[in-house]
């Protein structure tokens, strides 16, 4: 028997119905093939880095289980066939990490309640997605600290100055156009006022 770590990406539609049932989808497969699950807990509910099976969000479940090495192939096949499990990852590990047992126990307590997974956000026609906050609150942006070499800001600084100068040059032109618009609007407004006056005068004469 070996200790394995399993990460399962579960469909939010199944999780929304009942978390324990969703959890049993994965743990049931493991136990069916003689594995003993020691830890099975909700890891996170987050937006996916890319669309999987036309879905942009999913719930991750983390499990630690003892299993016979020969049964892993059959477990993998069963996980592959299950439609509620979108992705899975089974790795051999030496020991259960610290703190996992406490998190597992916390989930079993009566106070624990799984928050309702948010609706799958729709991808706009422009390709921009709603950046909803996830449980981990980890910024997985690719702008790393290593990229920010000291040479870059220096190189960028002159460009910024140039841009500022360009803007200054552009600014008077913009003002001119604005003033033109004002001048255009002003006579029109005056004309409208004068028209109103004439109509009022005509009305008073008629009366």
């Amino acid at each position: 028997m070996n200790l394995y770590e399993g990460m399962f990406l579960l469909d939010n539609n199944v999780v929304r119905e009942d978390w324990t049932k969703a959890k049993e989808v994965a743990t049931g497969i493991l136990e069916k093939h003689g594995a003993s699950v020691t830890i099975a807990r909700r890891w996170a509910e987050r937006s996916l880095a890319y669309t999987i099976k036309k879905v942009n969000r999913g719930t991750y479940m983390l499990a630690y289980f003892d299993a016979d090495p020969g049964s892993i192939t059959i477990i993998r096949r069963d996980l592959e066939l299950n439609e509620s499990i979108m992705r899975y990852l089974v790795l051999k590990c030496d020991a259960v990490p610290e703190g996992e047992q406490e998190l597992h126990d916390a989930e079993l307590s009566t106070d624990f309640s799984v928050p309702e997974p948010p609706e799958d956000h729709v991808v706009d026609s422009t390709g921009e997605e709603d950046n909803e906050s996830n449980d981990l609150d980890i910024d997985v942006g690719f702008d790393s600290g290593l990229d920010a070499s000291p040479a870059r800001p220096k190189a960028a600084a002159p460009k910024a100055e140039e841009k500022a100068e360009d803007k200054k040059e552009e600014a008077p032109a913009a003002e001119v156009t604005e003033s033109k618009e004002e001048t255009k609007e002003a006579p029109a407004a005056e004309a409208a006022e004068s028209k109103e006056e004439t109509t009022e005068a005509a009305a008073s004469e008629e009366a």
Partner: protein, 69 residues
């Protein structure tokens, strides 16, 4: 004249890279989502392999993107 490539001075004493530690892994990806080279990460061959493996696992699980935005 060919300019010598600057090697990173950062060491790699047992980084313990895990595919779940997204904050750390994201540091070793460029804006296109490519893994940094050894000369940039400063890792030894063994640690670089661990980094590669962890990033590829995270990508498979939909935690990290294959290509940048």
């Amino acid at each position: 004249m060919k300019r010598p490539i600057k090697k990173s001075t950062k060491g790699c004493d047992d980084p313990r890279l895990d595919y779940k530690d997204l904050e750390t892994l994201a540091k070793y990806l460029n804006p296109q989502g490519e893994i940094h080279a050894r000369r940039k990460t400063g890792y030894c061959a063994k640690c670089q392999r661990q980094l590669k493996q962890a990033i590829k696992r995270a990508r498979h699980m939909g935690l990290l993107a294959f290509v940048g935005q």
